[in-house]
């Protein structure tokens, strides 16, 4: 039984990996950015767990800015994804609008 479950896990992982490689590059760029932002937030949480929450304001500003930009990047990905049937926009406009909205709000 153990062997089969590990084999199942490996099969699962391989199928996910092949499915993911099929996504367009622009979406992969957004995904990378999201991972980067969340990773930065996690590093800050680990640091706070180490040294305590003394300048709590600074901790909040760091973590929330990372998480916020991750969330906005996810919104962008949703809007830009061609396979998503809910959004039907023209390509160039979509891109620019999404980016501008994210920029303004992030700042």
């Amino acid at each position: 039984m153990v062997k089969s479950t590990s084999k199942d896990a490996q099969d699962l992982f391989r199928s996910l990996h092949s499915a993911y490689s099929a996504t367009p590059t622009n979406l992969k760029i957004i995904d990378l950015y999201v991972v980067f932002a969340v990773f930065t937030a996690l590093i800050q949480v680990a640091y706070m767990a180490l040294v305590g929450s003394f300048p709590f304001n600074s901790f909040l500003s760091g973590v929330l800015s990372c998480v916020g930009t991750a969330v906005l990047a996810v919104c962008l990905r949703i809007q830009v994804n061609k396979e998503n049937k809910e959004f039907k926009h023209k390509t160039v406009v979509t891109n620019l609008r999404g980016i501008v909205a994210m920029f303004v709000i992030a700042v």
Binding site: T25, N26, I29, I30, Y33, F36, A37, T40, A41, I43, Q44, Y47, V51, F54, P55, S58, F59, S61, G62, V63, S65, C66, T69, A73, N95, I99, F103, A106
Partner: protein
């Protein structure tokens, strides 16, 4: 009209020196003392004690205890600064005196020497009770000590006592070498009363009983619980001496030699005269009277007193304490004056150091708590007047611009913000212009 104003001016000129003949804040030694006797022969039998008082500048006014013209105050002003009651058998005072008027006298800050003898009337007991001293209820009881008596005595009622309180303020700097002779009644003090103090205690082998009859039951007052002479310093710094023996102050005991039973030392002169003189100096505020100037505090490096401190400020505190020497104010020297920085409980307690000229100072850092604090100096040394000074001062936290600009612990968070900004910038370029 001219005559009236001139006579008024003359009268007030006469009254002026009278007004200065009383004790005041600047000159705390008493001046006029009323001496109540129940027998005028006490004037001669206790002449040494009274002469020493007169030679120190006191104005003694001798009156019989049942003199009908006795009055302590007239028109609301007290006529005397001190009262000596050497009238142990008087049942009722004459004039307007009674135990309540004597209690008011002490409440006004004036001093009292009260003495009982082999018999103490209820009046004297009542006055002593007001001051916290309990005489033995048995009116025929005297202090008997079969191992600490004077060898010249037959029935062991003349005690040679040397258990004196250790206080330079009350008994003077010179040690009283010879024992003090005592013949009289015993009294005890309530142990929870922290204003009374035993100056001369009986030895552990003393007890209070009737010397001429057999003991039917164990005596109530025994041992060191018996006080022979006690003092009380009231909260307004009035001083009261209560003695169980009038003979202690008499010329006969002043002059007699003393040898304690069981001890080889024979003294030419008993310690009575020195004891009585030193005690009278203390009770009439010639010694042990302190005065404090105002509390001064300021930040280190400044001289003005700020209206508010900030937490973690360095501040300096000083107070001036003077001691009355009998004639002038001298700087007080001690190493146990403390100041508290107090808000519900002392956050800082520091012993002040002195420059031997009367200034006591210290410096400390304001604690990391904000609120309204008090500088408190509470000084209650044995035999000295109690000092109770306080000054209020608020303490505030940091203002928003008094923090450090960049907190070192928070550098990772600053870094994270900047990398997020950089990452966003790079991402936007890459996303827009990739192939």
């Amino acid at each position: 009209m001219m005559n009236l104003s001139r006579s008024v001016a003359l009268i007030s000129l006469f009254l002026l020196p009278l007004l200065s003949f009383s004790f005041s804040v600047d000159n705390p030694t008493d001046r006029r003392v009323l001496v109540l006797l129940d027998d005028l022969s006490l004037k001669s039998s206790h002449s040494i004690f009274f002469t020493t008082l007169k030679s120190r500048g006191f104005d003694l006014d001798f009156k019989l205890a049942d003199d009908s013209k006795l009055a302590l105050q007239r028109y609301g002003q007290y006529l005397y600064d001190g009262l000596i009651v050497f009238a142990p058998s008087t049942e009722r005072f004459g004039g307007s005196l009674d135990s309540k008027s004597i209690a008011d006298f002490v409440d006004s800050g004036r001093d009292l020497i009260l003495s009982a003898d082999t018999s103490a009337s209820d009046l004297i007991r009542g006055i002593a009770l007001e001051c916290g001293v309990d005489f033995d209820e048995d009116s025929s009881a005297m202090v008997i000590d079969h191992s600490s008596f004077s060898v010249s005595d037959g029935d062991h009622t003349l005690i040679a006592a040397d258990d004196l309180v250790k206080s330079d303020a009350i008994l003077g700097k010179t040690k009283i070498e010879a024992p003090v002779l005592f013949r009289g009644v015993a009294h005890s003090l309530n142990p929870t009363n922290n204003l009374v103090l035993k100056v001369l205690s009986a030895s552990p082998s003393a007890y209070s009983a009737n010397p001429s009859s057999k003991l039917s039951s164990p005596p109530q007052l025994t041992g060191s619980a018996i006080s022979l002479v006690s003092v009380m310093q009231a909260r307004n710094n009035a001083r009261v001496v209560i003695s169980g023996s009038l003979q202690l102050f008499s010329d006969r005991l002043f002059r007699s030699g003393v040898q304690k039973a069981g001890s080889p030392n024979k003294y030419e002169k008993s310690g009575n005269e020195q004891f009585a003189t030193e005690l009278s100096k203390w009770v009439f505020h010639e010694r042990g009277h302190l005065k404090a100037g105002s509390l001064v505090h300021h930040r280190v490096g400044e001289t003005d007193e700020p209206a508010i401190y900030r937490i973690k400020d360095d501040l300096e505190f000083s107070v001036e304490i003077l001691e009355w020497s009998g004639k002038s104010w001298e700087p007080y020297v001690a190493d146990d004056v403390q100041v508290q920085f107090y808000m519900m409980s002392p956050y800082v307690l520091k012993t002040l150091s002195t420059d031997k000229k009367g200034m006591f100072h210290t410096s400390f850092k304001v604690p990391d708590v904000y609120g309204v604090f008090q500088f408190k100096v509470e000084y209650g040394k044995l035999g000295y007047t109690t000092l109770s000074l306080s000054k209020q001062i608020p303490v505030r936290p940091y203002r928003h611009n008094e923090y450090e600009r960049f907190i070192p612990t928070a550098y990772p968070y600053y870094g994270a913000c900047f990398t997020t900004m950089a990452g966003f910038f790079v991402f936007s370029f890459v996303y827009l212009y990739h192939k």
